[in-house]
Symmetry: D2
């Protein structure tokens, strides 16, 4: 406690499997106007883990340039992801491709993967059955699997049972910018995933649109936030990257600091409960 | 733009009457366990304006110690406030007392006041009629008046018409920790107050409970946030002070950065609108 | 209780001053495509009180037809309103005009008025100071005054102190269709207005868009709902009128029936409270 | 349209597989204080389909009385449900038991089942994988399957692909009384399920707490609502049963009537969208 009092910014690192992260913000690499803009925003975000889609068509741009050539592989741990995969088989294949590439590059990210198995091209919502199946196969194959999933608590639980190193519920659909639509589902996910295992990492992945969304996710007690579009598609990505960096830190701090309860007014005798009682 | 790109933290100062603030966070001095704890939290918050209740019974603690002796008057601009006043007359009297005290202390805060005229001891909600009346009198007397008020847009407008230097709508009742309960009223307040006068300062005062509330207030386009209980009554006030400091910065940045629109899903053809249409 | 059990639709009448209403839904007469459509919708709504704007330009249509000729004055009690007034003086004048007209028509609504003093033509939000002033004058003049106001609890209290027969907080701006944006303010309004006076009538006036909004208002413990645009501007006003009629009844019943508490899940040990606690 | 105008209460029946329902409200039979109370509430609710848990321990009470002896089987179509099942196998077994019982009783409900496969005794949330598997098996065995599921749109889609006659997303956890926590997920479920198939029945099952929740579900465009606890555990179940009956009707009407758009205020130029724009 003394440490915290004199150094308010101090916080424990977050541990995801064998990886230890200083920053609780993980950022993606898609949708930037240029690779140069991406490089700058990655740096500003303060992230030490960067997620990269490893399907060939996503790795290489129209001019044949490989995105990995624009990321400082000595500085960042790459978290390869299976974006663009719609079946367990495809996701497993792409995960292995990612491992191969990162081994070749001697990046420490070779041993983990962000698993996305999507159900639909329109909404980019995850497919629960295929995600659980792919998670099992990848765990069997030695991967540390970070699973993108809906906010459904039972699916979250099944993924942990399947061996997932981290479960990453969506706040709302990818790129939708709606933030966390159902905080109560995220709360139940954490009750499940952290029961008798308080350090199990839960990361909100997808849907955040702005800084307050990130802070709110952290205040719910999540261990981190993963985002991409909210920075890359902001009018000023550089400025939003800095906003997101700080939002993640301050939301974490607020979570640790123990906020005041919500009351109808300050002298109300009890915190607000959800009951709408008979007004008569 | 170039400046912003290379220095994402850069932002214009906020101007409130003759005062120029570097920090957009204004913090109060009540409810701390000790004056020492208050001192530390003020420093951590990064605020350069500190609001102090100048009624005698609030200025001096049980041991006869004066709160102003524990605030570095060379470093901070004091914003005297009329907390504890329930009539226009009392508020005007207390405002003048504050001016006298601060003149004696040669603090630049002698020329302004945070006007609070409360309607009720239980809820600490502001009294609109008495606030408008007190505002008029204080403006006539040469004060720069920052008016605490409800989120009612017409009252906000009347206060500006009465000469208020800044209008400060409550997000929710003082100390309630509920954040901004009615963002649409705050939006209308800003439409009114900033019409043909975009630099007119609008500050959310009261109700914020945690970091995401502060960030959200700034994302709405407010110019600053004033808070007290959320820090002073947090389990760890020091840590919460740092959270609030950053929340204010990152919310402001996110506001300037131009967030992505909210959509039902990323490929939806239009941003979410409020219409619940016939499902058939 | 026995009565309720065998006749679930039974409910006490609501008493507003000297008027006793069977229906808790009060409907307006503006914005209909034709007077005939209005007539049909009034009937379907089940209301026994109808509010009519009595400014001359609103009373008579482009063809010189008077709206009152299209309302069965033997069946309905007219609640004259001061829509379109922007000063206390004007509202008082129009209220007196309404009284005169209704006395001439021998309608029982001659002794009351729905007071609207608006602050702005754009938002149609009420002006708190002018409303309180006009209320005082009209009460002095013998009117039973039903005051349209914002959801600000202190203004609500001041209006009751000024002698208002009923206080009618807006759920959201007139015609905005947003429903009740700040239920907590409505809850505090009711705490104030019904303290030691549980039968004091509180009516949500303005902002409702659809049936669930009306039901929700009644579930909060309000005594009635006043609406116009939501029916008159619906694609099918007749059908919406019937929806609103039933929504008002079922919301009232749900309020009396004592709903189940909200919990995170059914076996959770306590109702949901508003505290976002540290997740660790 | 003419029909609707002159008879606002008229509505098409809802068709679920081979069953045609006059009432869009389906009610359960659990948690009542007595069978007699249940009988009365079923009648008041106006439902013509009643769902009954067919596991032996739920069918028979402590005194050995069978719940089916207290339901008028000539009046109601029974919808047997698999409440209390935690595996696909168990659910399939119980569904077959229900069919057998209802065939013996010559009730038309013998050919359908409400499938519940739960993931957890604490939250009673559905298990997506096991639900899809059980749905497939029951469809193969000739059942018309109404699937209780989370609000996850991809799981909803998979259930329809598996042959479900109706998909029934939860508004919130069973018995939680929270209403519809994530309307946007329900909207996407309907986009998926009704695409090129507008009459496919979507029914909100679980979580509703009060009348406005039911109305809101119908306003979203759902075809019906299934509930139990909200009536059975209300302080006055009879009165709540009547509230729910009307809430379902008026919500449906409001959906068909074409509500007004939501705007920041009535004269705002466009409906409210979800974008929080830069306030400067």
């Amino acid at each position: 406690m003394t440490t915290v009092l004199t150094q308010p910014s101090a916080d424990s690192d977050v541990v995801i499997g064998t990886h230890t992260l200083k920053s609780r913000l993980i950022v993606g690499t898609g949708k930037y106007a240029t690779f140069e803009q991406m490089q700058e925003c990655l740096k500003i975000s303060g992230a030490d883990v960067i997620t990269v889609a490893v399907r060939r068509e996503r790795l290489v741009d129209a001019d044949g340039r490989n995105i990995l050539d624009f990321i400082d592989l000595d500085q960042y741990t790459i978290l390869p992801n299976t974006a663009g995969c719609f079946t367990a088989e495809d996701a497993v294949r792409v995960a292995k491709l990612g491992r191969e590439i990162l081994r070749g590059l001697e990046n420490p990210g070779a041993d983990w993967v962000k698993l996305e198995v999507l159900g639909d091209t329109k909404t980019l919502l995850p497919d629960p059955v295929a995600t659980i199946e792919a998670c099992r196969q990848l765990v069997d194959d030695g991967f540390q699997v970070l699973c993108y999933t809906s906010d459904d608590p039972i699916t979250a639980r099944r993924l942990k049972e399947a061996g997932a190193t981290s479960v990453m519920p969506a706040g709302s659909p990818i790129g939708s910018g709606q933030g966390i639509l159902n905080p109560n589902n995220v709360r139940i996910c954490m009750e499940y995933l952290k029961e008798d295992d308080p350090d199990y990492p839960v990361i909100v992945d997808a849907g955040v649109g702005t800084a307050s969304d990130v802070a709110f996710a952290m205040e719910l007690g999540c261990d981190g936030v993963l985002l991409n579009t909210a920075i890359a598609s902001a009018a000023n990505p550089h400025l939003m990257a800095d906003a997101m960096r700080q939002a993640c830190i301050c939301g974490r701090q607020a979570s640790l600091a123990g906020r005041i309860p919500k009351k109808l007014y300050a002298t109300a005798s009890s915190p607000i409960d959800g009951t709408i009682t008979n007004g008569n």
